[in-house]
């Protein structure tokens, strides 16, 4: 079991992995018009990483998923989130200064039940992306660290 799981599980993982990633990034990007958001989409992307680690074992995946890169991404997401919060300080902390201003993510939405437009939401869409980046990197670091620790303990016991 140390080198991963059976051939059936590995084939299904290679088929399904890309679809899970695309769905996670879709949930992050459409957080302001459909159910979901940064936290949920980041959790879906991190579950794709967990699937990869469970299936293939740590040794083959460690060259693709770097812990240092994920740590940097996590800090970047949190700093971006606080930056967007501080940029609204013309009025208040966490003021939505982009919405209804006409620029990127700034067009107003139709009132009532409607399918929605991606170019709305103001800082909500930007904060969704920042929080999504943070959550996917944080949960990825947690899963990767625990997987590396588990394999190390198993190797030590085999000796």
């Amino acid at each position: 079991m140390i080198g991963g799981m059976s051939r059936i599980v590995r084939t299904m993982t290679t088929l399904i992995f890309g679809f899970i990633l695309v769905y996670g990034f879709y949930v992050i990007a459409h957080g302001h018009i459909s159910p979901g958001g940064g936290f949920q989409g980041g959790a879906i992307v991190a579950s794709a990483f967990a699937l990869l680690l469970v299936t293939y074992g740590t040794d083959q995946i460690q060259s693709y998923l770097s812990k240092d890169l994920l740590s940097i991404l996590e800090s970047t997401g949190l700093v971006l989130f606080i930056t967007f919060a501080f940029l609204g300080l013309g009025a208040t902390f966490f003021y939505n200064f982009v919405s209804n201003s006409g620029g990127l993510f700034g067009s107003p939405t139709t009132i009532g039940v409607n399918p929605g437009d991606l170019n709305t939401g103001g800082t909500i869409a930007l904060m969704n992306m920042a929080v999504g980046l943070e959550v996917l990197a944080a949960l990825g670091v947690i899963v990767l660290t625990m997987s590396v620790a588990a394999e190390t303990i198993q190797k030590k016991e085999k000796q």
Partner: protein
Amino acid sequence: MKKPVFFIAFIFFLAFMVLAAIGMRPFGEPSISNMDDYFIENAQAETAANNVVTTIVFDYRGFDTLGEGTVLFTAVVGIVALFREVAK
């Protein structure tokens, strides 16, 4: 010796749970709904986003999300510090 104590405690717990279930309000009818009505009526016009839940999480109650991000960051720092000897 121990069993009657556990049994009496279980009866009390069950009685409280049943009483709470009987006294529960009908689904979807909170006692005070001023804040909910305000969010449902004005969220689309004020923040220009269709998903009202995301509007509350990232705009009206942004501090909550900031705290959640901080908690996640602290959890990652704790786990990396805990496993740094093992994963070497």
